[in-house]
Every structure is written in C-alpha cells, then in structure tokens.
C-alpha cells in the first residue's frame, strides 16, 4: 500500500515528505468533500440501520431489530425477487440489444450521424420525463401502445396493470432510456478492431456469424465484461421506474429493494428499516463492484 518508491532519489526522505505534503495539499478539497458528503453519510447510514430514531430524542440501539422488521415484511422477498428479475430481464434486453445494434451500425456507411444522435437522445432526457411519457403510452385505453397493437389487429395488453407484464414494462422503459450509452460504447470498441483480423478470418472462409464469434467478441471481450458489471450494478438500484409508474403494484409485482427502502424511510418514517435495507443492498452491490474494479485493474496493468 505505502509507496516509498521515489525511484531516482534514494534516501530523499525529506523530499518524499515534501512531496506527500504537496500531494495532500492538492487532495484536501476532495478529501473534505468526500468526508462530508460520502464517507460520513455512509458511516451514519451503517449506524442508522442498528438504531431506532426519529431524530427528536436520542437514538436507541436496537441491534438487529430493523433487519428483523424488514425481513418479516411480506414485500421483502418480493422486492429482492423483482430486483433480480428486473436485473435479469434488463440484461437480456438491455445488454444484448445494444451490442447487436452496434454491430449493424458499424456496417452502415450512411446516415450514421443521425442514427447515433437519435439512439442517444433518450439518454439525455431527464429520467422523470421519459418515465412519465411511457406512463402515458402504457395507458390501456387511449395509450399509444395499445392503439398500435389495435392497428396491427393484435390483442391489447394491460402493460403495467397486470402482474405478468408490469415488470417487463418497466424494463422496456429503462432499456429505451439507457440503450444509447451501451450502443455508442460498443460501436467505438468495434471501430477499433483492426481490419486485418477480419480479412484473415475471411481468407479462412469464416462466414459472418463465425467472424462475429471468433473475431468481434474476443476483441471486445473486456468492454463487454465491464459493461455487464456496470449494467448489473446500475439496474440493481432501479427506483424511479417503479416509483413513478406503478408505486410497486400491482400486488407488489414491481416493488424493488430501492423502492422498498424509500417507502420505509419516506413514507413510513422508519429510517432504521430503510437503513437496514440500504445496507443489504450495499453489500450485494459491493460484490459486483469489487469484481468490476478487479477487471478494470487487470486491464490497467
């Protein structure tokens, strides 16, 4: 951890000290910001989850009570299952699709600027706007989607209003909002693949799919992996979609962990319970994040 390796400067202890002093001088603003707005709240959050407090009187330590409370809540297993299902569905839809789109875009020689612009457009909208817009599209009566289905003589769907389709409807919104990011990143990665690799594969008589499998994917493996982890970490925290679209319904079919946490803290005023849920979510995400850091560090070396 400690780096006392001033390579060209053996015995320069004073110099090293000076260097450290300067470095921390440069760092101090960031350290203060992090301490106040990230680290201290994290610690406090950790403490909160073992306390019962309403911030008026002194907090009392209740051990694991908050955890017991939330685990006994019938919405608790539903929230984890939904979060996992949402993450899984979002991976199926939101992870593969951008890659395929990027593969296609990479071959096109016209209208590329336009296509890139529109695919990234939804990412720039405030999330609340995109979500409220879809809420209106999902209206089972005059909503856009059912009207389109009607034009195609397909049966109308109940979208958000049925336990079987509510979650996938949220995934669709989320994918629409965020697909542009993945697409452009993959596109950039694809453009950096040297042509000679493709040419060589072609000489070996590899068809299109085999070229994808043997050249494209190995060449973009790292970015694919990193994006996979980032996507998991991001979608595990899904909140605004259930918050604005369904309020967790119907029948808790769209309650997610982040949403339940929010409900505990801000609708029931049970901050300890919210803290306990937050802590659990944090631990799960840490596992994924640790893998991510590991991967990107290996890449760095």
């Amino acid at each position: 951890m400690t780096t006392m390796t001033t390579r060209r400067d053996p015995g320069g202890f004073r110099r090293a000290f000076r260097r450290n002093l300067t470095a921390y001088g440069f760092l101090c603003a960031a350290l203060i910001c992090f301490a106040f707005f990230s680290w201290y709240p994290m610690v406090r959050e950790f403490l909160l989850s073992f306390q019962k407090t309403n911030f008026v009187g002194p907090a009392e330590w209740v051990g694991l009570d908050n955890f017991r409370t939330v685990i006994e809540d019938s919405a608790f297993p539903a929230a984890w299952l939904n979060t996992a299902a949402f993450t899984g569905l979002a991976l199926l839809v939101g992870y593969a699709v951008p890659f395929v789109i990027a593969l296609v875009l990479n071959e096109l020689r016209h209208a590329t600027a336009y296509l890139r612009f529109v695919v990234y457009l939804p990412v720039m909208l405030p999330p609340a706007v995109a979500v409220l817009l879809f809420k209106w599209f999902y209206d089972p009566g005059p909503g856009l989607f059912n009207q389109i289905l009607g034009l195609a003589h397909l049966p109308a769907l109940s979208w958000l209003d049925s336990t079987s389709t509510a979650l996938i409807s949220l995934v669709l919104v989320s994918t629409w909002m965020n697909l542009g990011t993945g697409t452009l990143i993959y596109l950039a990665a694809l453009q950096s693949i040297p042509s000679d690799l493709y040419e060589a594969a072609e000489l070996d008589g590899a068809g299109l799919l085999r070229r994808v499998w043997h050249v494209t994917i190995p060449q973009t493996k790292l970015i694919l992996l990193v994006m996979l982890l980032l996507q998991i970490v991001a979608t595990m925290q899904v909140f605004i979609e259930p918050y604005l679209l369904t309020g967790g319904g119907p029948e808790n079919a769209t309650v997610t962990v982040a949403y339940l946490m929010y409900q505990y803290a801000f609708s029931f005023g049970n901050f300890g319970g919210g803290g306990a849920l937050g802590l659990m979510l944090m631990l799960v995400l840490m596992v994924f994040s640790a893998v991510y850091l590991r991967v990107s560090r290996d890449d760095a070396n």
């Binding site: 309403n54 008026v56 809540d73 209003d161 309020g247 319904g249 119907p250 808790n252 005023g269 901050f271």
Partner: protein, 457 residues
Amino acid sequence: MKPRNLAILLTAGLALAAAGCGGSGNTPGAGSSPAGPAAADAPVTISVGCQPPKSNPKERAQWDADVAAFQKLHPNITIESKDAFPCIVPETFQAKLAGGEMEDLFYVYYTDVRKIIASGQAADITPYASTLTTLKDMRPDVISVFKEGEKLYGVPRTNYGTGLVYNRKLFTQAGLDPDAPPKTWAEVQAAAKKIAALGPGYVGYGEYSAGNTGGWHFTSSLYGRGGDMVTPDGKKAAFNSPEGKAVLENLKQMRWTDDSMGTKQLLRWEDLMRMMGSGRLGMMIGAPDVVQAVNNDFKGKFEDYGVTSLPEATYSLSGGDGYMFNPKATPEQIKAGLLWLEYRFLTPGQGQFDYERAKNDGLPVGLPATDLYGATAPGQKINELRTQFATVPVDHFKPYVDGTANVQFKLEPPKAQEIYAILDTAMSAVLTRQDANIDQLLSDAEKKVDTMLARSS
C-alpha cells in the same frame, strides 16, 4: 393517505369554506379573537407553512392581506410565511420532520398526526389551548384528531367526510337523473354500467389502487359499510369481515362482470382527478375538495359535478388537515401561533371564512368544503354565509350536505400509511386480476397488518 397536492386544493378551498362570526361580520375583536390576554408582550417571530403558492395568486394575496392585518393587530408578532408547492411532499415531509427543519407552525394531514404525536415530533400545546375561544364549539370528533388522551397537539384547519363525487353531465347523457344520485351500491353499479355504455373511454366508476391511495379508499368504503380497519385496542386487523368482503366483491363485480371501471388501473391521487376533469369518468369516492381540484387544476367546470353522501353510509372516514407546532417552539411562539391560527382559520367571517372577499375575488364559493363546527352556532353561520355568497350551484352539493348530516366521522387507523400500503395489494389484485380470490387477499392482508401492528407496539 391524503395525497400530496391536497394541500393546494385545500388552500384554495379555504376560500370556499364558510363561517359566521358571532353575528358581527368582520370587525376583529368583536367577541372573536381574544386579543387581550394572550397578546405577545415581547417581539416574537413565527414561521408558518403552507402559504398559497404563487400559482394561485388570488389565494396568496388573501393570505398576505390577512398576515398584514394580523400583524397590525399584534404589532409584536411577525409572521414568516413559507410557501411550498405542494404543501406536503412525502419525501421531504419525513426528512424535514427528521431533520427538525419544520416551520414553527407546520402543516399536516390527519393521516400523519398520530405518528407525529407518538414520535414526539410536535409540541404539546395543552397549556395554551385555553386562549382558543373557538375550541368549545368545535366538533369533538374533529378536535380529537389532534388529541392524545387529554393532551392537545394541534389545531384542525379543514375537515370533511367522504362522499361520492359524480359527473352530472354524464348522468344526463346516460339517461340518469343528476338530481337523484345513487343511494345504494346497487344503484351505483347500475349507473356505472349505463355510463360505461356511452362508448369506449368512458368509465362508470373509478377507484384507486396505487401509492397508498388504494388502501385509503378501501378504508373509506369499509367505514361507510360500518366496518372497522383495526380492533378497538388497535392491536389487530379487523377488516377481514363481511364488510371488507363486500367492499371488494362490489369492486370485482363492477370491474369484471359489468366492465364499468375501465381498463386502466393502478391509479393514484391525481389520476382520477384528471379523468374527472376530462369528462369521461362518472363516479368516484371523494369529498367536495375533489370538485375543487378538478375545477382548479384539471379543467373541469363546477356546474358539471355534484357530490352526494357515501351510499348506505352511517360512518364516514374523516379527512382534513391542520397545523402542529415544532417541538422546539417557545411558549411565546406557540401563543402567537395560536392567535394566528384562530385569526386565519377558525374565526367565522374572516381569513379562510371570509366569503364576501372570496366572491369579490372571483373565487368559487359554495362548496361544503369544511365542517369544523357541526350544528353549533358558528357552524350554522357557516352554512348561511356560504349560501349567501355562493357562486357555484349549491344544489349540486345538497345531497352531500343532507346525507352527511347524520353520518358519524371516523378517524383513520393507527399506522395508517403502512396499513394503506398493505391494502393497496388487495385493491390492485381485485382490479387487475379477474381470478383474484377475495378471501385469500383479505386474510393475507390481515396477517400482514397483524404482524406489522405487533411489531410496532
């Protein structure tokens, strides 16, 4: 749950409410405001929440005028108005409570009062309550909202019982008599069927099932049928009963057999208002403040709507709002705050009950929006004045006034938000799944509520 923007509606609704001042019109001090003994001797400043927002310029101007007049009367008191829009945003409400960021005089819905008292987040104002002369005439069931035992923790501002809001225009279109609104649930079903038959997009009867509003309306319907949410000791759920079953059966019938509730469900507070405003919704559970909201925010017109009492009801869920005091408030601030509340919200003929001004400002008058005094002298004055300065068709609300006269108000259950959240599940199941098993849903909800109540006691 009284959803967030109710605050605005009610602020606007203040102008409509009515009162009569001991028969002496508007002169302050004429037997109404006890300016003498309680007047502040030393300068004191109080911050007060829920000033009408800039987007309601008339109500805001009235508020500001009242503040100026009040400060003239009490030169030592300075009022700092805080406008929020809406007055209560759930996520900030809890955080502000927790952070001690609340105004000295903060605005609350009935729903949250119990919890605030229980967690010590409001000041006990019992010692100062004697300065409120209007308290003795107030309906006991209203004032009890802010009481814990013998202690008083706040003052109500508005109060009403739930009824049935309906679209008179659609009634006429569907061949129903708008002056004879449904009196029983069977009549509601029949009327809803006729309205839904007007064409695609028409909804006969709308009901909530998301964002805790589903549980809130379940409670309204259950009380109306004479049922109870929790046992008298507040330790066990009591809604898994014939009444609770009847509530859900009735919805199931309308949603699936009659197909008169539309396809879009998971509605919350603003959705039904919006549907009412667009003129496609026939009926919903609600109080006169709903009409207010539909008129102010959703382009509906007063004359198109009517309100009647809840069908077959003997009890009705009471809703409303009021003010509580920050636990950090000093005695002087509490005294000054009570003076202000009385001036602005409790005195007949002035503040929120100044109908003449409301009419002159072009605000709608005549909705039976608030009932603090029942049949006592001030209460009767309210009705007289409201009728005198009415600008909306009072007859349209007569069924509500007549029907609720003998209906008992009933308070929300303890842990209201948590219970509502649990019942959202049952409501959304009945409205979105044709094969929903009502017995199963009620017993599941009962188990959850029992566990939750056991945990929190």
